[in-house]
C-alpha cells in the first residue's frame, strides 16, 4: 500500500486509501492523498474484501484505477470483472486471465500447449481415489495431491505409498473445499528437494513481453516463503535464457498483460517444471527491482493505462545480487506460531543499499486480522557473498522491542554453511533449522545474567530499606533506579 502510494506520488497520481474498522489508525493512511472511510462497518465481511462497496466508493469518488495490492482481491477474477464492467482500470491482468491462471488445471493445459515442461500427473481434476491410485501407480511414488484452486500450501498432501492414497485424497479434498470452496484436486509426481525458482515477467496490452530474471525462494516453511533472492546461484546464463523464454511463452499463450510471476520447480539434475503463474505483484518483487533498477509498480500502472513497454529484453540488465528477509511477528522457537502484541519500539538501519518496506511504527499493534508480516528487509550488493554479509549487519541493527519476530531465524539461515554455498532446497528449513536459534553459547549466559540481575535487584531493594534504617547506608541508587524502571 505504502509502496504503491510512493510510486503513484512520483508519477503525479492522486491516491485514495480505505480506512477499516480493524485497523483505523493504520500507518499507510498517512501516505494516501485522501481517505475513504469504511471503519463504521460492523458486518461480517472484512472491508477489504467487500467488492461492491469498493466499486461504489470508486464510482462516488470518480476513481479511475484500482490497484489490488498483493492480497486476496489481486487474484479475484470477480473483482477484476466488476472493475471492467464499471470501466474502472484494474491494475493487473484481465479477469479472464486471472481465472484461467488461478485454476491450476487450466494453467497446466495452457503450459502444455506451449510445450513448457510439466510434471507427470493427472490430466485435470481427479474424480475418485481409485483414479488417483491408478495414475500414481503409472507415474510412480511419491506423488502429491494439489488443490486446483489452491495456493499457499493448503490442500497439498504428499503420498509415499499406495496404502495412504485414499486417506490423503480425502484430506486434500476436504482441505481444498474449506480453504477455496472448491474440492477439486489433481495429482502429480512429487519432486523431492527441489529448488523454487520463479521468473518475473511483464507484458503490455500490445503483445510485448520481457522477463526480468529469476528469484529463488527455496527458503520456505510449509510453502510460506521466508527469504528470497535474485538471481539464483543455481542458474547459469543458458538456463536463465531458456526458462525466461518459457515464462514469456506461457504468458503469451494466456494473453497476459501487467506484471506476473511464473513459478518453476528445479530438480537436482537442473530439469525444471512449470508449477503455476501468479497473476499479481508479489511480496518479493523488491529483489527484482533491486537488480534491474526498475520500478515494477510504475510499469504496472503504465501498462494498465495502455502504454507500451518502454524497453525490450536486450535492455534488461541484471546487476549484482539482492536478498530479502521477511520480518514476521512469529515465534520461531515454537513452530512459527503468530506472535500477537504491541511493538513498543522499532528501529532499523538506513543506507543506500538497504530498502525496508514496512507499515510498522512505535506502538503498532500486531492483530490477528492481518498477516504476520511486519517488514521486508531488502539488501543489494555486488555479489552473493557481500549481500549475505551486508544483510547480516542490517539484521543486527534491526531492533524490535515488545514482540518476537523471525529476525533470529533469518540470521541463523544466513550463518548456515549450506545456505552460503547455495546448497539448499525447499527442505532446507526442515532439515537444517531444527536447532535453537541462538548464535553462541554466550547468548544464553548473557540472558542468564540479566534475569539474575533483575531478581537480585529485587532482593537488594527489599533489604536496602532495612539497611537504610539501621545503618544509614544505601545501596547504589543506580540499582534502585534500575529496579523501579521495569525493563
Amino acid at each position: 500500500m505504502i509502496r504503491i502510494c510512493q510510486t503513484a506520488k512520483k508519477m503525479g497520481i492522486k491516491t485514495y486509501g480505505i480506512k477499516t474498522s480493524k485497523e483505523p489508525k493504520a500507518y499507510y493512511l498517512e501516505f494516501v492523498d485522501a481517505i475513504i472511510d469504511f471503519s463504521d462497518t460492523s458486518d461480517e465481511i472484512p472491508e477489504f474484501l467487500d467488492v461492491e462497496r469498493i466499486i461504489k466508493a470508486a464510482r462516488d469518488h470518480k476513481i479511475q484505477a484500482i490497484h489490488p495490492g498483493y492480497g486476496f482481491l489481486a487474484e479475484s477474477p470477480y473483482f477484476a470483472q466488476r472493475c471492467e464492467d464499471e470501466k474502472i482500470i484494474f491494475v493487473g491482468p484481465s479477469a479472464d486471465v486471472i481465472y484461467k491462471m488461478g485454476n491450476k488445471t487450466i494453467a497446466k493445459r495452457i503450459a502444455n500447449r506451449s510445450q513448457i515442461p510439466l510434471l507427470r500427473g493427472s490430466q485435470g481434476n481427479l474424480k475418485s481415489a481409485d483414479e488417483a491410485k491408478y495414475i500414481a501407480g503409472r507415474i510412480g511414488y511419491p506423488v502429491i495431491f494439489k488443490a486446483a484452486a489452491g495456493g499457499g500450501g493448503r490442500g497439498m498432501r504428499i503420498v509415499e505409498k499406495p496404502s495412504y492414497i485414499e486417506k490423503m485424497f480425502k484430506l486434500a479434498s476436504t482441505e481444498a473445499q474449506k480453504a477455496f470452496s472448491d474440492s477439486s484436486v489433481f495429482l502429480e509426481k512429487y519432486v523431492r528437494n527441489p529448488k523454487h525458482i520463479e521468473f518475473q515477467i511483464l507484458g503490455d496490452k500490445h503483445g510485448n513481453y520481457v522477463h526480468l530474471g529469476e528469484r529463488e525462494c527455496s527458503v520456505q516453511r510449509k510453502h510460506q516463503k521466508l527469504i528470497e533472492e535474485s538471481p539464483s546461484s543455481a542458474l547459469d546464463d543458458r538456463l536463465r535464457v531458456k526458462m525466461g523464454q518459457d515464462a514469456i511463452n506461457i504468458a503469451k499463450a494466456a494473453g497476459y498483460f501487467s506484471a506476473g510471476t511464473v513459478e518453476f520447480l528445479l530438480d537436482a539434475d537442473k530439469k525444471y517444471y512449470f508449477m503455476e503463474m501468479n497473476t499479481r505483484i508479489q511480496v518479493e518483487h523488491g529483489v527484482t527491482e533491486m537488480v534491474t533498477g526498475l520500478d515494477l509498480i510504475e510499469l504496472q500502472l503504465r501498462i494498465a493505462q495502455g502504454e507500451k513497454l518502454p524497453f525490450s529484453q536486450s535492455d534488461v540488465k541484471l546487476n549484482g545480487w539482492a536478498l530479502e528477509c521477511r520480518i514476521n511477528a512469529e515465534d520461531v522457537q515454537s513452530g512459527f506460531t503468530p506472535y500477537l502484541g504491541i511493538i513498543d519500539k522499532i528501529q532499523y538501519p538506513r543506507s543506500k543499499n538497504i530498502r525496508i518496506d514496512t507499515g510498522i511504527t512505535d506502538m503498532s499493534v500486531v492483530t490477528p486480522f492481518f498477516d504476520s508480516m511486519l517488514a521486508k528487509l531488502i539488501v543489494h550488493a555486488e555479489n552473493r557473498e557481500k549481500v549475505i554479509s551486508h544483510t547480516m549487519n542490517a539484521l543486527n541493527k534491526f531492533w524490535i522491542k515488545g514482540i518476537k519476530t523471525t529476525i533470529p531465524f533469518c540470521k541463523a539461515v544466513l550463518r548456515n554453511r549450506k545456505f552460503r554455498n547455495g546448497d539448499f532446497t525447499t527442505s532446507f528449513v526442515d532439515e537444517e533449522m531444527k536447532k535453537l536459534y541462538h548464535e553462541e553459547e554466550r547468548d544464553e549466559m548473557l540472558a542468564a545474567y540479566l534475569a539474575t540481575f533483575d531478581y537480585a535487584a529485587g532482593i537488594e531493594t527489599d533489604r536496602s530499606m532495612y539497611i537504610d534504617f539501621e545503618q544509614g547506608k544505601n545501596i547504589s541508587p543506580w540499582v534502585l533506579n534500575k529496579r523501579l524502571r521495569s525493563l
Partner: protein
C-alpha cells in the same frame, strides 16, 4: 544458629540461574565491580540507549534484551529476539532442588499435547500400536489447515485421550506413549 549479617550478605550474593535445559550459571556479585559467572570474571553492563532500548554490552558487542515475563524466581528473557527461560536459585535452594530431582524416577512415558487449539479430524493410530519417531499420529485441523501431530519418540501407544471430532485446547493431552 545465628549467622552474622556479613555472612548473610555473602551467602546471598551468589545466585544460580538454571536454564530450561538444565544448564547452570553460577553468578556471583551481580552488581559489583567483580562479576563472576561460573567462576570466570566477566565485564558485562546493562544499559539503556536514548530511544529506550535496553541492551547488554559485552566484549564491545551490543545485545538487545528485554524481560518478557517474570513471576517470583521464574524469568523469560528475550536476547536478540531469542527467548530463554530461567529459574533463579540461591545455592541453598539449588541444592535442595537437585536432591529432590535425584529421587524422582526417570519417566518412561511421553505425553503428546495439542500444539494449538483445533478439531481432531482423524486418528491414525490405535492403542497398542508401535510408532516411530516422527510418525503421524493425529490430524488436527486448526485455522483451516490440517496439521499432522507427529510422534515425539519411538514407542508404543498406551492410551488415546481423544476421539475423532473432539475439539481440543492448546496443550491438551492427546496421546500417551510408552518410550522404547
Amino acid at each position: 544458629m545465628i549467622l552474622s549479617r556479613k555472612k548473610i550478605k555473602e551467602a546471598e550474593t551468589e545466585y544460580i540461574a538454571v536454564s530450561e535445559h538444565d544448564k547452570k550459571y553460577a553468578i556471583r556479585n551481580p552488581f559489583g565491580e567483580e562479576i563472576t559467572i561460573n567462576h570466570r570474571k566477566v565485564d558485562i553492563k546493562i544499559l539503556d540507549d536514548d530511544r529506550g532500548f535496553t541492551y547488554i554490552l559485552y566484549k564491545r558487542k551490543k545485545y538487545l534484551v528485554e524481560i518478557v515475563e517474570k513471576s517470583q524466581n521464574k524469568y523469560t528473557i528475550l536476547l536478540n529476539g531469542v527467548s530463554y527461560k530461567f529459574t533463579i536459585e540461591t545455592p541453598i535452594s539449588y541444592k535442595r532442588k537437585k536432591y529432590l530431582q535425584k529421587n524422582k524416577l526417570k519417566s518412561k512415558v511421553e505425553l503428546v499435547g495439542a500444539p494449538m487449539p483445533g478439531k481432531i479430524v482423524d486418528i491414525l493410530v490405535e492403542a497398542g500400536a508401535k510408532v516411530k519417531e516422527g510418525e503421524a499420529l493425529i490430524i488436527l485441523e486448526a485455522m483451516k489447515m490440517q496439521n499432522e501431530i507427529l510422534s515425539p519418540a519411538k514407542g508404543v501407544i498406551k492410551k488415546l485421550f481423544v476421539n475423532q471430532g473432539d475439539i481440543v485446547n492448546k496443550e491438551d493431552v492427546l496421546i500417551e506413549i510408552e518410550k522404547k
